[in-house]
Point group: C2
Chain length 277, copies 2
């Protein structure tokens, strides 16, 4: 494995196992979170499997990733099965598996994805990019927590809704807006756009200024960008916005949008997240 690769490319490197539709990767230590790899990098690896599959039709349109169990260190096996191919769309079922203590393979992640061949049509937006200070005018924030290596893989500059400094349990709005890009910068592609969709710390931590245990259960990303839009975004900052909707009995959901510098929405995303207390 070349050390010249960007950490992101190292993290999503997959090799074929010889079993049809099956790939092997490694849980990334560069993107390690507290109990396993950053959820965004798991989503990126799944999308990578789809895109390098020889039967892949078109480009990513949507992916839903369900975090069934913590992904452990070491090897992981991705199955990427194109169960239905139409003229211009293709439907995928995916799993990530790892061996348990007895060596039995266990599902740790499930996912579905849709790829599509897109055509130029009438286009419009109902969610214009909010007016915020440019990235250059905002402070670069060092990694907010120790032990979460993945935080060092992103450059973050918060315009709104950074974590409250004091855990005073005071209730507030759950809106965050930040400029974000890979660290070091790397040209955007579908996999890295999927990864950055998971950039937001748990809305529950912001909503009531209390850092309770929390983890994403399911994340969906809808891709609105084509390849030319990704090329235009390059390695520049994206504006990432997230807001919680409902926090109830152990789970909350959020909606999120990602814009390029030029003000175009590249992806929208949603999560439902477990929280304690």
């Amino acid at each position: 494995m070349s050390t010249d690769l960007h950490p992101f490319d190292r993290a999503v490197t997959l090799t074929v196992t010889g079993v049809p539709n099956q790939y092997q990767g490694q849980a990334s230590s560069d993107y390690w979170n507290m109990v396993g790899p950053y959820g965004g990098i798991t989503a990126a690896s799944l999308l990578q499997a789809v895109q390098q599959h020889p039967q892949c039709l078109g480009d990513p349109l949507s992916i839903t990733v369900n975090y069934s169990a913590a992904v452990g260190a070491g090897a992981l096996v991705i199955d990427a099965n194109p169960v239905r191919t139409n003229r211009s769309t293709q439907h995928w079922i995916l799993t990530v598996q790892q061996p348990d203590a007895d060596g039995q393979m266990q599902v740790v992640t499930t996912a579905t994805a849709v790829t599509a061949v897109r055509r130029d049509t009438w286009s419009a937006s109902d969610v214009p990019m909010p007016a915020v200070k440019p990235a250059a005018d905002l402070e670069r924030v060092p990694p907010l927590f120790k032990g979460s290596e993945w935080l060092s893989r992103y450059e973050m500059r918060f315009a709104d809704g950074i974590l409250p400094m004091d855990e005073d349990a005071a209730e507030r709005d759950s809106l965050t807006r930040l400029w974000v890009r890979d660290n070091p910068p790397r040209p955007l592609d579908f996999a890295s756009l999927a990864a950055v969709s998971d950039i937001f710390f748990p809305r529950a931590w912001l909503r009531r200024a209390k850092r309770v245990p929390a983890g994403t259960v399911s994340m969906t990303v809808y891709f609105h960008a084509g390849r030319e839009d990704l090329a235009a975004a390059g390695d520049d900052f994206l504006l990432a916005q997230a807001r919680g909707q409902e926090f109830r009995n152990g789970f909350f959901d959020q909606t999120a949008q990602l814009w390029s510098q030029s003000g175009q929405i590249l992806a929208t995303s949603h999560q439902i997240v477990y929280f304690k207390e």
Copy 2:
């Protein structure tokens, strides 16, 4: 099949086939849309399979349904596989299959779902119910299109954003708010809440007043309600709100919220939808 059943209960009736994790149903003529059953009733049938599975743990937390191909008339086979069971969450992979012209079973729908045992925690909302006229003060709208039988299965009263009468291609906001309930009224449950999450006509039709061909590709529903919340909602109206986010190159996405009369969010939902032109 008893004719005393509510049309919804008839539509989601499933029988075991004898194959593990497998159920058989019928594409519902009561909920027929132009080229197949209403997408919401397919989501409901998948959730029904999960809930009547003998190993089901807890209540629905999320479901993502990918509409891979039109579901045809006649029998359909649902596979509902609980691939990972944790202490308080369970992860499901599901498919709907039907025979093609040669009698070969083909995947027409894919899905994942998560069920969970929920506990009382701190709860809050960041999306309060909008102020609209009560349902009783709004006109009951007859089915908007002929040939879409499913429209007769819902009572709809629009507060905002009914379809423009003239197809003048004038651009406008894509927000819709309506009061909706089953017709005839029926006590709400998880399956019918999933079904009603798909109630909104395509946002593209509203956004530019042009009824182009359109169809949902993928829908996700997050359940925020517990059984007691559903019981409290009863058979009364729900307030359903949807707004498009990005319309680009053949696909748009929407976010949606469903509140009970008492102002509690019962579910949030997202879709990505194909449109032509």
